[in-house]
């Protein structure tokens, strides 16, 4: 390692006499102010004022630490978010018929989901369960637990009537808290059975099904065979009365289903999004809209893209302040050590030797701040992750880069003081009596 040789630009001694060349060669020996000498002088220069060194590095420590913390938290948070998505969203997909705007501005569906849609998509890889949902248009017809038309009673908001296929409950991860969900047989026979969501059941005053309670849609009675709950993906089901699709078609003339809910294997989102429309209608697959979870890496990229810009800017400002701090203290140190600089010049140091000494001092201070700051930042991220029971995710090259950024700050901060130090006139400095 021959650092001073790099810092010292060689100038050709063109025109110098032979004797001159010999003199000069003698001074170019490997023993003259080597990088080892430089580092020893630098360490003495820095080590002289421990308290001042701490204050000097503080700004850089804060700046680097806040950068590492900001980026580290963004990475950690991205990991946590995608873990949550894995649990619920990453295993759920929805297919809807495509829509277009008609001439008078209404949304109209451009295709229909076939009645056998669940059978078609359940044959696909990655699809675990599928269920159709359709809203049954019943207009002003009341859904009640008793078939009495009491004109004096206040009008109550009746629950919505939905029609689904038998697989829907499993497709949206619901569960029957009482009784059971209807099956393919009820659907095929168009049996007058119904399942009610937990909140709708409460409103209707039904809390058990073993007595085979009935509800009335208009004047048609339906036997309640189950109460369902926990449908995270379609919470509106909690407020609904649900009948089999076959029943809805027979009794209410249901035209088509409005959406197909899919429960898929983790990571199968992209595959399902591509294959489900083809399975539903091989001729016009473009007429279906699929909402499927994106793959994990895409998700993390998009989250990392919006790293909190505010904190990043704050970190950079702290870093700038740190750099100014280093520049200030190095400048102070230069003016304090005017005598020393003059002495070194008299002892044969070139301007470049002096500049490199102050430059390396400020780079070392910056690097020191960067290393401490990076360590503090990593510890902060790990500590918070520990408390929150998260998995800390920190990019190691990012941490090393942040530490090196401290050195770069030191380099930039040292440039002006080093230049000033190298311009000190030796005799004037020595006579000042410092």
């Amino acid at each position: 390692m021959k650092l001073p040789a790099l810092l010292r630009r060689r100038r050709s001694g063109a025109g110098a006499a032979a004797a001159t060349a010999a003199t000069v060669d003698a001074t170019r020996r490997v023993d003259r102010f080597t990088s080892q000498d430089l580092l020893v002088e630098v360490s003495h220069g820095i080590g002289g004022h421990t308290g001042r060194l701490v204050m000097t590095t503080l700004g850089t420590v804060l700046g680097i630490a806040s950068l590492v913390v900001t980026i580290g938290f963004a990475q950690t948070a991205a990991g946590q978010i995608s873990a949550q998505f894995d649990a619920v969203a990453a295993t759920q997909a929805v297919v809807k018929p495509g829509s277009a705007r008609s001439a008078n501005g209404d949304e109209v569906a451009t295709s229909m989901l076939p009645w056998d849609a669940p059978d078609r998509v359940e044959r696909l890889n990655g699809v675990e369960r599928a269920g159709l949902i359709g809203e049954v248009p019943i207009g002003e017809t009341a859904v009640t637990a008793v078939p009495i038309n009491d004109p004096s009673a206040p009008e109550v908001l009746s629950p919505t009537l939905l029609a689904t296929s038998e697989g829907l409950l499993e497709a949206v991860r619901g569960r029957a808290t009482a009784g059971r969900y209807f099956d393919a047989g009820h659907d095929a026979r168009a049996d007058r059975v119904a399942v009610i969501g937990a909140r709708a059941a409460e409103k209707l005053g039904i809390n058990r099904v073993d007595s085979q309670p009935s509800i009335f849609v208009g004047e048609r009675p339906y036997t309640v065979i189950g109460i369902v709950d926990d449908m995270e993906r379609r919470p509106d089901l909690l407020d609904s009365v649900i009948v089999p699709i076959g029943t809805a078609r027979a009794d209410f003339g249901l035209q088509s289903a409005s959406e197909l809910q899919l429960r898929i294997a983790a990571g199968a989102g992209a595959l399902v999004a591509e294959q489900a429309p083809i399975a539903l209608d091989p001729n016009t697959p473009e007429n279906f809209d699929v909402q499927a979870p994106r793959s994990g890496s895409e998700l993390q990229e998009s989250v990392q893209a919006d790293i909190n810009v505010v904190f990043l800017v704050l970190g950079l400002i702290a870093l700038l302040a740190g750099g100014l701090g280093i520049a200030n203290v190095t400048l102070l140190s230069v003016s304090e050590r005017t005598g020393e600089i003059g002495l070194r010049r008299a002892l044969g140091a070139t301007r470049r030797d002096i500049a490199s000494q102050f430059m390396v001092e400020s780079v070392v201070i910056g690097l020191l701040g960067g290393l401490i700051g990076a360590a503090v930042g990593v510890f902060a991220v790990v500590a918070v992750a520990l408390v929150q029971q998260w998995t800390p995710i920190i990019d190691l090259p990012m941490v090393l880069g942040a530490a090196l950024l401290g050195a770069v700050v030191g380099l930039a901060a040292g440039a002006y003081p080093a230049r000033k130090a190298s311009r000190i006139e030796p005799i004037a400095a020595l006579r000042a009596g410092v």
Partner: protein, 226 residues
């Protein structure tokens, strides 16, 4: 380097500082210092003593004229070459000692080897020998701040002779010392001079100046032998 050549040879050296008004601090100075010479330079402040010291010490370049140091024409050298020549040919001693307060006496003396290219394995023995020679072998690990003024100046002398220079430039070496210690320091200089070192002492003190073999006066940029 030619050992027969004078250590210092100034030929018609003029140093002027561009104005306005232009100041000519040295006017056609001719000066020859041979090996083993003992020279004192006296003169009032503002007479050009500092400028002469700067030029002699290779810290400034003459505007006009030739300066040969140890036979080498210095005008053709670049900054780095002049620094190297300065490190190996000239030892400086200052009024204010200029010892680094946070380094030991030994470290302060070793500082002179950094820039002069003394081989690494020779550094320590030479520094110890230099300190022994000035009678401070027992103070090597002391801090300069704990030493008396005379001791400090002896450390500075040890530092000045470290790189085996041909010329010692002493700028008011006794200015901060009392009469007795200043006599001791001058005795030390004279011992070095007796060993063949050329010695230039810049001083206000008539007593100190009077000890030299040769004395020159500088007034208004002109040099005259006394």
């Amino acid at each position: 380097m030619n050992s027969a050549a004078p250590v210092v040879e100034l030929v018609d050296v003029t140093r002027s500082f561009p104005g306005p008004p232009e100041v000519r601090a040295l006017k056609s100075v001719n000066l020859t210092i041979r090996r083993g010479d003992y020279l004192s330079i006296v003169g009032p402040s503002g007479s050009g003593k500092s400028t002469l010291l700067n030029v002699l010490g290779l810290l400034d370049r003459p505007t006009v004229g030739e300066y040969r140091l140890g036979g080498v024409l210095t005008g053709a050298l670049d900054e780095a070459q002049r620094a190297g020549l300065r490190a190996r040919t000239i030892g400086f001693v200052f009024q204010a000692f200029h010892l680094l307060p946070r380094r030991t006496v030994l470290d302060n003396v070793l500082l002179a080897t950094l820039y002069s290219g003394v081989p690494r394995h020779e550094r320590m023995p030479r520094a110890k020998a230099a300190l022994e020679r000035v009678g401070l072998g027992h103070r090597m690990q002391f801090m300069p701040t704990t030493l008396s003024g005379g001791e400090r100046q002896r450390v500075a002398v040890a530092r000045a002779v470290m790189a085996s220079p041909q010329l010692i430039l002493a700028d008011e070496p006794t200015g901060n010392l009392d009469q007795r210690t200043s006599g001791e320091v001058m005795d030390l200089f004279e011992e070095l001079n007796a060993d063949g070192l050329s010695l230039v002492v810049i001083t206000h003190d008539e007593k100190v100046a009077g000890r030299a073999d040769r004395s020159i006066r500088i007034a208004d940029g002109r040099v005259s032998e006394l």
